[in-house]
Symmetry: none
Subunit: 135 residues, 4 copies
């Protein structure tokens, strides 16, 4: 994985700062291209159930190479067995807030945020992603 340990910390810090600015408490997760946990931070007061949701958002975004929001939209166009079949898979989630991480066009991981509104989660994840790619 090309994500350096300092890059990962900058991603957590940037997402954390954004969440604080928005006045929300969230969980922030990054997985590598193999779907393995690379970095995680839970802000005090963040929903406990969102811990795994944030990790699964990152995992899903990396697994399908698209945001969980785009994945959700794509499923809308699928026939029921495919849509339902995919939604029932462990770890697969369509909750917005998961983004793929790409470097030089190569999929190298995913970042997921959970705990605020869908729009806020995605906005915070975008901040984390930007910091990760600039690091």
């Amino acid at each position: 994985m090309s994500q350096s340990a300092s890059g990962l910390q900058k991603a957590l810090a940037a997402a954390f700062a954004k969440a604080e600015a928005l006045g929300v408490a969230v969980n922030i997760a990054v997985v590598d291209g193999g779907g393995n946990l690379a970095a995680f931070l839970r802000m005090p007061g963040a929903f406990l159930a969102s811990t795994d949701i944030a990790i699964d958002k990152a995992w899903t975004a990396n697994s399908f190479g698209m945001s969980t929001a785009a994945f959700s939209q794509m499923l809308e166009g699928e026939v029921a067995p495919v849509r339902e079949g995919l939604l029932r898979r462990p770890r697969v989630t369509v909750i917005p807030g998961g983004l793929p991480v790409r470097q030089d066009g190569q999929l190298i991981g995913g970042i997921g945020v959970s705990g605020a509104s869908a729009a806020q989660d995605e906005e915070i994840a975008m901040c984390g992603l930007k910091a990760l790619l600039e690091s």
Copy 2:
């Protein structure tokens, strides 16, 4: 299981060639009549989440002796407790792309493909099945 090791390799190769011809990246899995993994191949770039889905398609097709597409249709005609009860079982999937393997009318396994569209997955699985039966 009657599936020979060389037959399994030919099945993987035929499915792989078909996927390449279609320009898609997929996971290909074969299970024996006991539901145990017999052969597997993941093409680089195939959705990571599709690894287990391909195996579960093969497992489901062998478990019920019909394609996952036919199984999905069959469930439509069932009462809710049966349909929901079956769909909630681990490993059971209704996503098309899983086919039963029959030799002389005998169910001897399943093949599953995952990573492309439902129609492509099934088309690729069909190629693998054909190679397996001819071997």
Copy 3:
């Protein structure tokens, strides 16, 4: 949990700096008093298997309120059914490198490090713990 998000980041940063100074690549995990993941960082090149081991060290240290090294020693003095019974529990580990987190005498979490030698893991965890308590 009293651990602030910035304190958690300082703990990851301090443990990471120590690991770099020692020339080793490790996984660093912090859990809160409920045993839930609070922060995590995997350094590139760290053993993949150590991801869960680091989390389980933190979980075990918090669960029993003592370091995993002390827990291991305590088990030595136990009768076999207790020792074996505890060792067979999921998530329970006796590998050194897990430390409890206490604030004003109150158990509020655990920190675990995995990927280097047992002595190095514990030394790195100690650095992370110190940064967490000073923050």
Copy 4:
């Protein structure tokens, strides 16, 4: 992962040919650098229990960046809590027959063989590894 789909098939074929020459039936597994299954083949008659053992050998070799035989020897030199603690981890195995896959010095996966004697398993895995690296 740099392992191409054709390279993976050549690895399975080379290991299979070696096992046939030795007159044994084995399971052959390859995982990528993220520990995810990349290729698998079970020869008819191979021990059913060896299916997962082969996969876990590949997983362990990739997780620790060394052969399962070397990992086993390394554990001999460890204190009991570390040795016992690691041996109790899910998926971790010290049974010989698992080898790391390195490309240009970079760890990119693992290959595992199970079903024959420890020496034969490792010899077969070596053949698969050689074919993978030459492809």
